[in-house]
Amino acid sequence: MAIDHFLRNSATSWMSNEGEHSDIVMSTRVRLARNLAEFRFPYAFTDEEAKKVDERVSAILKEDREPPEDFTHIDIQETPDLKRQILVEKHLISPLLAKGEHSGSVLLSTNEELSVMINEEDHLRIQSLQPGFRLQEAYEKADSLDTFLEKKLAYAFHETYGFLTSCPTNTGTGMRASVMVHLPALTMTRQIDRIIPAISRLGMVARGSYGEGSEALGNVYQISNQTTLGMSEHEILQELENITLQLIEQERRARRAILEQSPSALEDRIYRSLGILTHARLLSTEEAAKCLSDVRLGIDLDLINDMDMSVLNELMIFMQPAFLQHYAERPLQPNERDRARAKLFRERLVNDHDKQEGEDSA
């Protein structure tokens, strides 16, 4: 399979809107860091060693495996910069791997749910992506790929310290499990300001992306485990699951409270945002993310009924700069991007009857 399969702006399974709590938990990711015993780690190895690591791991994943899973090998240094950025925007590779400082690659499963980055900070970074709230399922998929690889590769493993990684924050299980949560009501009511420090006291980390305003971009936060040593994978997943469930409960409570106290103000805010997304001619990332969050909330609260949530999940990904430029087939200046972004939203969101208006200046 060619790299172009992964650059299309069409939906893939992990962007879908399936499963329990998918109104609040957008996606789940589990990542396992592994190194080969025989080679020095990426901060110390030579490019020759890097190539050998890549060849060895890739050869194994190209063999027939049980269950069969097709992996496409993408060499990072041979990939043009814009295409690398698209893979970053889709969360399929990390910004560090995209830099291409030494020989590295990514092996991607056709449905994009499993990937193995080679020579990022560690020799292997096994990543499993799932839509919605699916920690166990995401872990099982990463774990079974890891078990398959481990039969053919000698991992750097220590009796006391567990899996040895470049960074001491990953030593032990080498596992980072995370969920992306949409918390508009907790953000609007400012409760998030006390929740974030509380989560960090429980050995987990909550983070948002911050834009010009004081709210996290798109009201989206990532919750992940901080501890990788001294707890089993199962215990870590269980704790993350418990904390996420509590967060979901608090968000639902905050949503009900806002809906009871100021229904018209909330409805107005949601419909204004829908108006912007379907009619604006210039849309910045910030504004688009804010409006997407409002519309998403509108769908969750049944105030908007004729819109598919998975389209919003896709737009979050496809509104980013590299995607916009890939589809414009030319580099775009920031103001041109805002124009292209607005056009993308109109095309994807506008209903048939007012489609003509959406296309007039396109």
């Binding site: 910069d81 774990d143 924050t169």
Partner: protein
């Protein structure tokens, strides 16, 4: 870790800025973070800045004979990383670094991992067998000491024989009898 901007509140968020392809990370409190801009890349951030952590952490000297200076100059024979380089970069150069720097690591891991310094999770199959045997031996040794303390010498002797048997299995490369 304290917020890099106000130096008052604890840093709870990592803000990634991407300007002309140059990615920088800052560790800020929730209030200061809100004043900064940037783009989505939530999944790709590490939980906190290991460099900041290490620059504020002074390793405890476990070996009185080893002066602080000496530990700084300990160098990994496999990759050439000195302890000072590990501290500066916040990253190990190879698997051997873990052995080389091990006197300093317990304390560091405890601080990083909520008081823990020993792995409790998945074990690769190839290591699993020998580790399991070693853990069993440790447990039997403990029981044997207890038996001796209680003057249960017959029990102690039988435990000693089981330990002997397990040690023989370890010498045979972890293969169980009859395999």
């Amino acid at each position: 870790m304290v917020c890099e901007q106000c130096h008052e509140r604890p840093a709870t968020v990592t803000v990634t800025q991407n300007q002309q392809g140059e990615v920088t990370e800052r560790h800020l409190c929730h209030v200061c973070a809100a004043e900064n801009h940037h783009i989505f890349s939530l999944f790709d951030q590490s939980p906190f800045g290991i460099n900041d952590f290490l620059s504020n952490w002074l390793p405890v000297q476990h070996h009185p004979a080893m002066s602080p200076r000496k530990s700084e100059t300990v160098t990994c024979p496999a990759c050439g990383f000195s302890f000072a380089k590990f501290m500066k970069l916040g990253k190990f150069g190879c698997a051997e670094c873990y052995e080389t720097f091990s006197p300093q690591l317990d304390d560091m891991f405890r601080r990083l991992h909520n008081g823990h310094a020993e792995h409790k999770g998945k074990v690769p199959l190839s290591f699993g067998r020998t580790i399991k045997i070693r853990k069993e031996i440790d447990e039997l040794r403990r029981q044997m000491q207890e038996a001796i303390a209680d003057e249960q010498f017959e029990e102690a002797a039988s435990l000693r024989d089981r330990i002997k048997g397990l040690n023989a299995q370890l010498d045979a490369g972890g293969e169980a009898d009859g395999n």
